[in-house]
């Protein structure tokens, strides 16, 4: 059997990367939405 660790690393890396990126993106958008709500309340 060939050494397929390269594909495995790519797969797990990709999964971790996509999940992390999605979580960060959600967080950023939530924070932005919350800030704009707060700004509205102040103004």
């Amino acid at each position: 059997m060939d050494d397929n660790w390269g594909y495995v690393a790519a797969g797990y890396g990709l999964t971790a990367g996509v999940v992390a990126a999605y979580v960060v993106w959600l967080r950023v958008r939530i924070r932005r939405a919350e800030r704009s709500l707060r700004d509205e309340a102040d103004g």
Partner: protein, 238 residues
Amino acid sequence: MTGKLLGVASGVSLAVLAVLALVVVPPDAVQGDAQRLMYVHVPTAWLAYLAFFVTAVASVLWLWPRTRAPHWDLLAGSSAEVGVVFTGLTLALGSLWGRPIWGTWWEWDARLTTTLVLFFLYVGYLALRRTGATADERGKRCAIAALIAFADVPVVHFSVTWWETLHQDATVFNPDLDVRMEGFWMPFTLVFSVLAFTLLYATLVRTRLRLAELDEGREERELQRAIEERRRAEVVPA
């Protein structure tokens, strides 16, 4: 509080899964280490289907007059977005597995093809959600679109299966995706991976739902303000 707990639980279980799948589980007798990709590929596929199922159920609940609430529409949209992310991931992981095992990145296999069509169907659904209609109008259109997409999937699967069996003899690769699970750690890790990703799904949908509610509130407020400004502008000159 539940949100924090859920997030921590899914993070921890994913870390445990990584250790199980990459270190504890022995390499497969036939597929070698590439088989380790199954412990992410199978649960992401499961998660994608679960997400679209939730979208369909939420859409029905929105359409049913007795259970209609704006919440269901937002849940349907949130779940679909998570579903699209994980369908894309499933396809990519399948390719990464297929390359060493089948010798090709892509095979026009019934399951793969259906999943690809599914991906585009729900990308379209997400696009439909962003076309700026009122919440009610959007809810109605999107709920119907989600149900049509959901009903379309079996028909697509059926036709693609039929198409594939027609020229199966032309397939040089063994298209057998079913993995034989031996010993204790292999099945255990697979079941664990499904549980871990289900937790992740709950966390992500919860977060996405919070964002959807915030956005909805902001849009409503902006609309309200616009109406008020218009009213003031009409009153002053008179």
